[in-house]
């Protein structure tokens, strides 16, 4: 799950992570008010999840999703150009993203740009801090070409972030005196935020030293642990479904694991590993998967029906492969679910069904007796080659 820049700013304020003043606005008038409160050196930024906003273009023709402004009136005028308009950047795709909020912030004069991130590292099974003097750059490039510019500092899982680590990181970044102290405080507060909100990544890029000597988190990328959202109500409420693939939003309402892809063969599978492997075997036989879809171990008829609707709602889909290994689940129940779904939703595309496992003979018989126009497959390879042939025909 991703959040907007203004939401990251709210989290920074809550945990006293030093950052430039900023306020969110939904109307041009609110933007002007925000500018009056912030004072001098204003910047306005369109709030969408995609990067590349500054170089983006609105469909209205207005250039740029980030602007320095000379006055509150200027902020208001720019807000009018952005709000309710669609911004296209290199990350949004040609359809762009509707801008419904802007952030008005204090623009700071930057003396130094640094990099600071905390990531939950699966190899060492603890949070690892990465700090670099090469701020504002792609950190993977830095790691590749100049690894000596990055300090990796693991944090003990039970002790948490220690004061000496704050001093060590500040010194590595070349900070001294009151700047070092301010940085160490910022790092401690950011670590507290990382743990308290169940983050899997907080990336501050850049962390800046201003010409006035302040150490500030200028922009941040957050990732959260989905498993923890049950106890992170505030974070869960920050989800903006208008930024997500509508198919994925619909799937999440039925607790289905769905990820949209660009191909034309939809698949419906039980189990995440088997679902991935099913996509792979479609590709192996020369097809392109349209999605990842795991209906889980105990899918209900309602879930199967919802899954069918989502699959058929994708205009790219030219054929469907159902692959179920019903270990404990009764294959006949799955067969009945598929029939009910097809009857409710209707079906004009080729459908290949591979059923295996518990009560499979009965399940196959139920499918055969249904009169539906579907192709039965004996195994996974057979299923994949049949659906690829069916859509090529």
């Amino acid at each position: 799950m991703n959040i907007h820049e203004y939401q990251a700013k709210q989290l920074f304020d809550e945990f006293q992570v030093a950052s430039p003043k900023g306020k969110v606005a939904e109307t041009a008038e609110q933007a002007r008010q925000a500018a009056l409160e912030i004072g001098q050196n204003l910047v306005i930024k369109a709030q969408i999840h995609a990067g590349g906003r500054g170089k983006g273009t609105f469909k209205s023709g207005f250039q740029g999703g980030v602007h320095l402004c000379s006055s509150p009136e200027d902020v208001e005028a720019k807000a009018r150009q952005m709000l309710g308009q669609v911004l296209v950047t290199h990350q949004t795709g040609p359809e762009g993203k509707l801008v419904s909020k802007v952030m008005v912030a204090e623009s700071v004069e930057i003396a130094r740009e640094l990099y600071f991130a905390i990531v939950m590292d699966r190899a060492t099974e603890r949070p690892v801090i990465m700090a670099s003097t090469a701020g504002g750059m792609d950190i993977e490039e830095v790691a590749h070409h100049t690894p000596e510019k990055i300090l990796r500092e693991p944090v003990h899982p039970l002790l948490g972030f220690q004061p000496y680590q704050g001093r060590k990181l500040a010194a590595f970044l070349g900070l001294t005196g009151s700047q070092a102290a301010a940085a160490a405080k910022l790092f401690t507060n950011l670590y507290n935020l990382f743990i308290a909100k169940d983050c899997s990544l907080v990336e501050v890029n850049p962390l800046v030293v201003t010409t006035g000597g302040d150490v500030l988190a200028l922009d941040a990328k957050f990732n959260f642990d989905d498993n923890a959202l049950y106890r992170q109500k505030q974070v869960a409420a920050m989800r903006d479904v208008t930024e997500e693939d509508p198919r994925e939003v619909a799937a999440s309402e039925y607790s289905l694991n769905y990820i949209g892809l660009d191909g034309n063969i939809a698949c419906l599978v039980n189990g995440a590993g088997l679902a991935m492997a099913t996509m792979d075997i479609i590709k192996f036989y020369g097809g392109e998967p349209a999605n990842f879809l795991d209906v889980g171990g105990g899918a209900s008829k309602e879930q199967v029906t919802a899954a069918f609707k989502i699959i058929l709602g994708d205009p790219n889909v030219k054929g469907i492969l159902i692959n179920i290994f019903g270990g404990i689940m009764d294959c006949n129940v799955i067969a009945e679910g598929v029939i009910a779904a097809v009857k409710e939703v209707g079906l004009s595309l080729p459908l290949v069904v591979r059923l295996e496992g518990n009560n499979v003979a009965m399940g196959k018989q139920t499918l055969a007796a249904s009169g539906l126009n579907l192709v039965s497959a004996d195994n996974l390879a057979d299923a994949a080659s049949k659906i690829v042939k069916a859509i090529a025909a």
Partner: protein, 299 residues
């Protein structure tokens, strides 16, 4: 002999009175597994299915029944606590089926388990493990977790996997080829888990009954690479591998919390390459896992 568990293993189940835990406890009993105790705080003194005593704490269950293995079917907010309770009670093996435990909780639990060097954790977010029995439909074996028992048959193939249904797929192929399994271990799909591919490979390597090994991995992390690097110089037995997720887009979690390519790390291509480099035959598709193992055994 198989690994970790056999037909004599005494198993307790934490969360036996929940609908999911209860359903699978009954399936394990039907399979012939020695489920000797259940644990649900506040329900001590009751009986499950009229025959399995329920205790308030894991310590009581261990003391009264001699169970050495715990299976956890406790909801995510309480699962970390349940793992630590089992370790503290002296369980040698703790198998956590629960899916959806926050990673910060698992990080802390894993660190705390260092105080219990004789306790092994498998999972979380795993299907458990099966050592098939010698009876009809593999009856009489040790089934811990949620795998379908009847697809197994006792034999010499050890299977280790991060995915439930892909394990079943491999088991079924082996059974249909007329072979059988020594033990099948699902290590789980979470980014931080108890037992790794490498841990299980080492156990299979030392197990006299295991003649060949299937290792199933998926995108995310680098544990498969680590296991392959060890196997290259140390594993005496033929291995067939499969890696799921060649078509998965980077940066997306593919169902399992741990199945994500991040920062260019954990791709299927890199894992397959590491396996091949170690001399492991890699199945091109999930349909060929069994056939690939036969090829590896005849090499």
């Amino acid at each position: 002999m198989a690994i970790l568990v056999d037909e004599n293993t005494k198993v307790l189940i934490q969360g036996i009175t929940g609908s999911y835990g209860g359903r699978h406890a009954k399936l394990s009993l039907d399979y012939g597994t020695q489920v000797t105790a259940g644990v649900t705080p506040g329900k001590g003194g009751q009986l499950f299915e009229g025959r399995v005593p329920i205790f308030d704490t894991v310590s009581q269950a261990v003391r009264e029944t001699g169970a050495t293995v715990s299976t956890i079917f406790v909801p995510p907010p309480f699962a970390g606590d349940a793992i630590l309770e089992a370790a503290d009670a002296g369980c040698e093996l703790v198998v956590c089926i629960t899916e959806g435990i926050p990673v910060v909780d698992m990080m802390r639990v894993k660190a705390a388990l260092n105080d219990y060097p004789n306790c092994r954790l498998i999972g979380p977010n795993c299907p458990g493990l099966v050592t098939p029995g010698r009876g009809e439909n593999s009856h009489g074996g040790c089934r811990i977790g949620i795998a379908p028992g009847y697809i197994h048959r006792r034999g010499g193939v050890g299977i280790v996997s991060r995915s439930g249904t892909l394990t079943y797929e491999a088991v079924w192929q082996i059974t249909n080829l007329g072979m059988g399994q020594s033990t099948c271990v699902g290590i789980g799909g979470d980014p931080i888990n108890g037992t790794s591919h490498l841990d299980v490979l080492k156990l299979f390597n030392e197990d006299p009954e295991t003649e060949a090994i299937i290792m199933i991995g998926e995108i995310g992390g680098t544990r498969e690479e680590e296991a392959a690097a060890w196997a290259k110089d140390h594993c005496k037995k033929p291995i067939a591998g499969f890696i799921a997720g060649a078509t998965a887009p980077p940066g997306r979690r593919m169902g399992h919390a741990g199945a994500i390519i991040s920062g260019g790390q954990g791709t299927a291509a890199a894992k397959k390459e590491a396996l091949r480099e170690a001399g492991i035959l890699v199945a091109e598709t999930p349909a060929e896992i069994g056939a690939t193992l036969v090829k590896a055994m005849n090499k």
